[in-house]
Symmetry: C2
DNA sequence: TTAATTTACTAAAACGTTTTCGTCAATACG
DNA sequence: CGTATTGACGAAAACGTTTTAGTAAATTAA
């Protein structure tokens, strides 16, 4: 392993000078800087991250806390898109990412402990139970944190505009003449509450009364649970003419139920999804859905995190807007 | 930050003793070990990974090289499953994982350099272009490597039994009476070659001649390219009665083409996928496909990697077997 | 000319561990 | 009883950086 000392010998200067030259200190003469940099790359020098960290307490590493009760965190396309974007933005900023878990090795260790152990400079948190004591411990600690789709008072957060998304989809269905609109929503998280609010606003604006049976809870990303919810809706005396699904993926569960009853989309029933993932574009019928800008969400969270790691930045709630994606899963409904 | 010194003061022993007590050296008396461990947890001590690494040259960190030309590495369900499994197995072994890339910060850095910089103890490589000079540099270096679905002479590798998978699917189609069987395969990687071999073997055993037009190349995980390939097949004078698709996801592209021509699966045409991901189970019709044990593949690669990091292990090619998943996308074909 | 300032560099300590040699009792052996 | 051996611990160096405080020479100011 070639170290700073090797360079210093080769150049006939002290290690201190090499370090400064490499790190762009102004007090080193241009010629020396040149010389040092040249020999550094000649010797194929790589700084030792551990040694640097030990001195500076900066790991250039950001933690990613992306867990899920169902452990589908990584296979959930929406979250993998965020993860991917976080990773790339982190990398262009010179950071690597580390997954934060709480059972490293055989022994139990809290999220915060894991962060400390790996000296993460900051953490991006998404898709977790934000009431979890360990999450709270981390959030309240001194490590910089940015949360996704959940806001704490004194912290920066990046949120997708869930209220708007649900509002727009519901409004669209209403505009198309639907009056019996059901909403299969996910577990009652903050995200879900926002969407329900958006849905309700659209209904109100269109003078539509939504019976309680039209609001049914299922689990995000769980095709089976959504299929059951769909079945319940179709079994009603007055089944809906349109259904909003919790997300694009789990919609497929609903689709199965609909098909198996010999119904067709959108002729007999109109549907829309949520997320706007790749899958929704290739499905047939193509899904009318709401695109969440996962890429932007990831990018912004890293940007904000880096800001609060490197400088002093004020806590800020950033809203990332989505986009209505039309497909052919909704048909105009002519009330009889 | 509480260090070993704090513990040593509290206990009235030297730092050396604390270190040894914590690391289970035999030369420390049981009582001292007890005392040290108790005060360590009382003070909420966390070892400093950087300091330890600096001394021991062991980071407890394994690199993951999972890139894709199409950058869909993380959103590809099959690979996210592997990634997830790698992550979990690594964690239970006390390792964290780091994504290896070649453009950390603003400056270009080779995969190997990145590994060195982060002191990865070993690397798992999958889903990359194994001819890439940078990959080769890493593979030939002194850092322990395990490859997935590709084998180098002197290295351990974990491979899914691609030949068997394609063989079984093709045989099944033949058993069901199909004689005009097409195979839309992926780009000509090693994996693809194996599958083609399996396919061909099945055809041969069943005395089926496969015209060249029935073997068409598309891109993995690319619904659009697969749709086009499907169209080409359906345009033939003698279109196939059964099609094997490159993977479950991209099959949806083919499905779209089939549906839009007013054909039905499996009545008019039989299909099967590959991978056996979640999606294939909830699709309608449910897909007949080959399940690749992503979980096992991830686990085994970490196991093997840790083995070669911690002890001396011989290079070994490990084959992970899959499983035939029947669905209802294949129908018995009565030759006229 | 002398004093003050600037420039370009260096010595050395420090970061928190691990690990190699010691050391010094206590015990075992001949 | 004297000598090995063992058991339990400590001193100190080392890992590769960064950074503070300094120094000597060169330049500028008075």
């Amino acid at each position: 392993m070639v170290t700073i000392k090797d360079i210093s010998k080769e150049c006939g200067v002290s290690p201190a000078t090499v370090s400064k030259a490499l790190n762009g200190y102004a007090e080193i003469s241009p010629e020396t800087v040149e010389l040092v940099k040249r020999t550094a790359s000649k010797l194929n020098y790589m700084p030792n991250a551990a040694a640097r960290l030990l001195k500076t307490n900066r790991s250039n590493n950001i933690g990613v806390l992306f867990v899920d009760d169902t452990m589908s965190g990584l296979t959930h396309e929406f979250f993998s898109l965020i993860l991917n974007s976080v990773k790339e933005e982190a990398e262009t900023n010179g950071y690597d990412i580390t997954f934060i878990s709480n059972n490293i090795g055989r022994q139990k260790m809290s999220f915060l402990q894991h962060c400390k152990y790996r000296n993460c400079d900051g953490v991006v948190i998404a898709s977790v139970d934000f009431q979890n004591p360990e999450v709270l411990e981390l959030v309240r600690s001194d490590v910089p944190v940015v949360t996704i789709d959940y806001s704490f008072d004194n912290l920066s957060s990046i949120v997708s505009d869930n209220q708007e998304g649900a509002y727009r989809l519901a409004s669209y269905l209403a505009e198309q003449g639907h009056r019996k609109i059901a909403f299969i929503h996910g577990e009652r998280t903050l995200v879900t509450q926002k969407r329900i609010r958006g849905f309700n606003r659209a209904m109100k604006e269109n003078g539509i009364e939504t019976p309680d049976e039209y609001m049914v809870e299922a689990r995000y990303h769980d095709a089976d649970s959504v299929r059951k919810a769909t079945a319940a809706l179709l079994d009603l005396d007055e089944p809906p003419t349109a259904i909003m699904f919790p997300d694009d993926f789990s919609f497929i569960g609903g689709q199965t139920e609909i098909f198996e009853r010999g119904l067709s989309i959108p002729d007999d029933i109109s549907v829309c999804g949520y997320d706007g993932i790749n899958l929704s574009r290739i499905l047939n019928p193509q899904l009318t859905t709401w695109y969440q800008n996962a890429d932007m969400i990831g990018k912004e969270s890293v940007r904000k995190l880096v800001e609060s790691i490197e400088g002093t930045s004020v806590a800020e709630q950033i809203m990332v807007s989505g986009e209505f994606l039309s497909g052919n899963s909704v048909k105009r409904w002519n009330s009889k």
